[in-house]
Symmetry: C2
Subunit: 168 residues, 2 copies
DNA sequence: GCAATATACTAGGACATCCAAGGGTTTGGA
DNA sequence: TCCAAACCCTTGGATGTCCTAGTATATTGC
């Protein structure tokens, strides 16, 4: 989207914060901004790898989640909770996955309010292939050192827990 | 958006990866997924704080960037590069900020292709107030320890540099 | 047993991001 | 000098996310 900048824009922002007397919060500001930017970079990589499979990250996540479910099916509200996205986002993803014949909607056997999302055979196959691609081209070459990975998992895990994501 | 889950869904995903023989990349996968989720949580907090000011994070970032520019003005392509977003995203943000009378578009004095974005007096005031709010309500209470903040800045800085964000 | 409340999903709208294309302006090499 | 290539911004389209209803089904409590 652009060539490398001569200087780190986030480090510059941190300096600006300090220069304006906000030194107390300059570092957390920089850390948070860095997280936002890193997410953007990672998402772009992931989407790039998934594109040939006709998937986006949101759809892939749903497919992967289903592929780990015992029966290959989950209620929509369960998927929404586990993926931690708004129910309408799941509706959106399922609409498109269903159109691509990768999942099917089916009524819940006992609760008339609930809709089950079920993986089709093609859906399962594609999930597997996409996962292999992601493992090879993104997760296997994250660019993070092993120690840093462990540190990120711990620090961000604590953060997510404090934010109310899970009890555990 | 939902109540806390009984278990950390990302830790579960990591276990699933290991169980399927992808142990090599399970940890990086978990770290990357955690970054995505953390970004989502932080963005929601930021947007929540900015909403009373009629700003979104994208618009705030542009406003803040302009407020640090000597003249309070920047060419659109410069803003695009510094914010590291697609030019069309800047066009979109400027359209809305201009409608809110927080910035003004003006022609570049010597290059007819370029458009300058200029902060208005209200824009500058609002940027200051919004920044104070973010400093108090988000950056000042990030939930990250000081050491973790330093670590994040370093690790993510290295990552962004390796990704081609900047030379430095 | 029935009304009030809670849950589950979806439709419509606001925003943001990116990509692909198009029109105007500059730059540079023949 | 002059036209092709490069650059800048905008428009239009595809996606994703969230919020705010609105409809349908379950559960609760009196």
């Amino acid at each position: 989207m652009g060539s490398p900048l001569p200087r780190d824009p986030i480090a510059d922002a941190q300096r600006n914060w300090e220069r304006h007397g906000w030194g107390e919060v300059a570092a957390p500001m920089a850390a948070i901004t860095a997280i936002m930017r890193t997410q953007q970079i990672l998402l772009a990589r992931i989407e790039g790898v998934l594109k040939p499979y006709g998937l986006t990250f949101a759809r892939y996540e749903l497919l992967a989640l289903l592929s780990f479910a015992r029966s290959g099916a989950l209620p929509m509200n369960k998927a929404s909770a586990l993926l931690q996205v708004h129910p309408t986002s799941v509706t959106n993803a399922v609409d498109r996955l269903e159109k691509a014949a990768l999942v099917v909607r089916s009524p819940h056997p006992t609760d008339g309010r609930t809709t089950l999302i079920e993986l089709t055979a093609e859906g399962r196959t594609l999930a597997k292939r996409a996962t292999t691609a992601l493992n090879n081209e993104v997760f296997g070459q994250s660019g993070f050192g092993d120690d840093d990975v462990e540190h990120l998992i711990r620090v961000l895990g604590d953060f997510r827990k404090a934010a109310g994501d899970f009890t555990d």
